[in-house]
């Protein structure tokens, strides 16, 4: 059982990106700001603690993730699949994270991912309200954030 820390989020996200989508990343404590609108995926969970996990990425990185998940070349048609790709990666991340946070035998209930486009300011506000967060940069310098928000004990899936 591990404590929720930025390092744990970075490690879990990095491992999932590498294993599922062949995207290699490094944690970055002073990341460049998002310049334009971003894709945000959110998923709720409940168990020993309840909360919400947010995964936010540059849309071009989300397209790369879609291409790599599918084993296809990047190109036309992948734009529409980028939100689904980001949601599914979040689904994979939360599955790995709750076991690390609560242990192998803990009973947890996971929600289903919801994906939308938001502006950089809204994302920054979300980060400010998170219990902990991590930012990774992939090889081309594109940014992806993971933020964990915890709710009081006894809550259901948000």
């Amino acid at each position: 059982v591990a404590e929720a820390t930025p390092a744990l989020l970075a490690e879990t996200l990095g491992a999932t990106l590498e294993e599922a989508a062949f995207v290699f990343t490094q944690p970055e404590e002073s990341p460049p700001p998002f310049a334009a609108r971003v894709l945000e995926a959110r998923i709720g969970f409940s168990g020993p603690s309840a909360g919400e996990l947010r995964l936010v990425a540059d849309p071009s990185l989300a397209r790369t993730l879609a291409a790599n998940l599918l084993g296809e070349e990047e190109g036309a048609g992948l734009e529409a699949r980028a939100p689904d790709a980001l949601g599914e990666l979040l689904n994979m991340v939360i599955g790995a994270l709750v076991v690390r946070l609560f242990g192998d035998d803990a009973r947890c209930r996971l929600g289903t991912p919801r994906v939308r486009e938001i502006g950089p300011a809204e994302h920054a506000a979300g980060l400010a309200g998170a219990a902990c967060a991590a930012t990774l940069l992939e090889e081309e310098g594109r940014r992806i954030d993971l933020a964990l928000k915890l709710l009081p004990a006894g809550g259901g899936v948000p």
Partner: protein, 132 residues
């Protein structure tokens, strides 16, 4: 012998990934069917013969666990092998599903070779009928 396969997952991208992985695992497939949740999966199985189901757990409208429950109560579906493909990594959950009779459990992210093992489990269990 070839198999009619049903893939139930709310993510279209995962359905595509599972379809590719099954192909790479070498399972001869006569038909692929897809469903976005458990309710749609039951509808597909009411209209088509299905030899094996690859199902996610967390789906809207009807989850994979509810789908398994409904299949266990249906004489026509109770012996259809189910492989769960899920992002849930809890060993307690996996053990519970295995007690309920699932054929194999694949954790996401998965590798194509893990599908080969699942397919072998289906064939070894002798429950995947297939069509000659």
């Amino acid at each position: 012998v070839s198999y009619a396969v049903l893939i139930a997952d709310d993510s279209a991208i995962v359905r595509s990934m599972v379809r590719k992985a099954i192909g790479m695992a070498g399972l001869p497939v006569s038909e692929f069917h897809e469903a976005a949740n458990g309710r749609e999966a039951l509808e597909v199985m009411s209209r088509h013969w299905v030899d094996v189901v690859f199902a996610d757990l967390n789906m809207p409208e009807m989850s994979g666990a509810e789908l398994l429950e409904r299949m266990s109560q249906d004489a026509a579906l109770v012996s259809t092998p189910v492989v769960v493909v899920s992002s849930e990594h809890s060993q307690a959950k996996i053990d519970e599903l295995k007690r309920k009779g699932i054929c194999a459990y694949l954790k996401k992210p998965f590798r194509p070779e893990s599908f080969r093992e699942a397919v072998e489990a289906v064939l070894a269990a002798g429950r995947g009928g297939g069509r000659g």
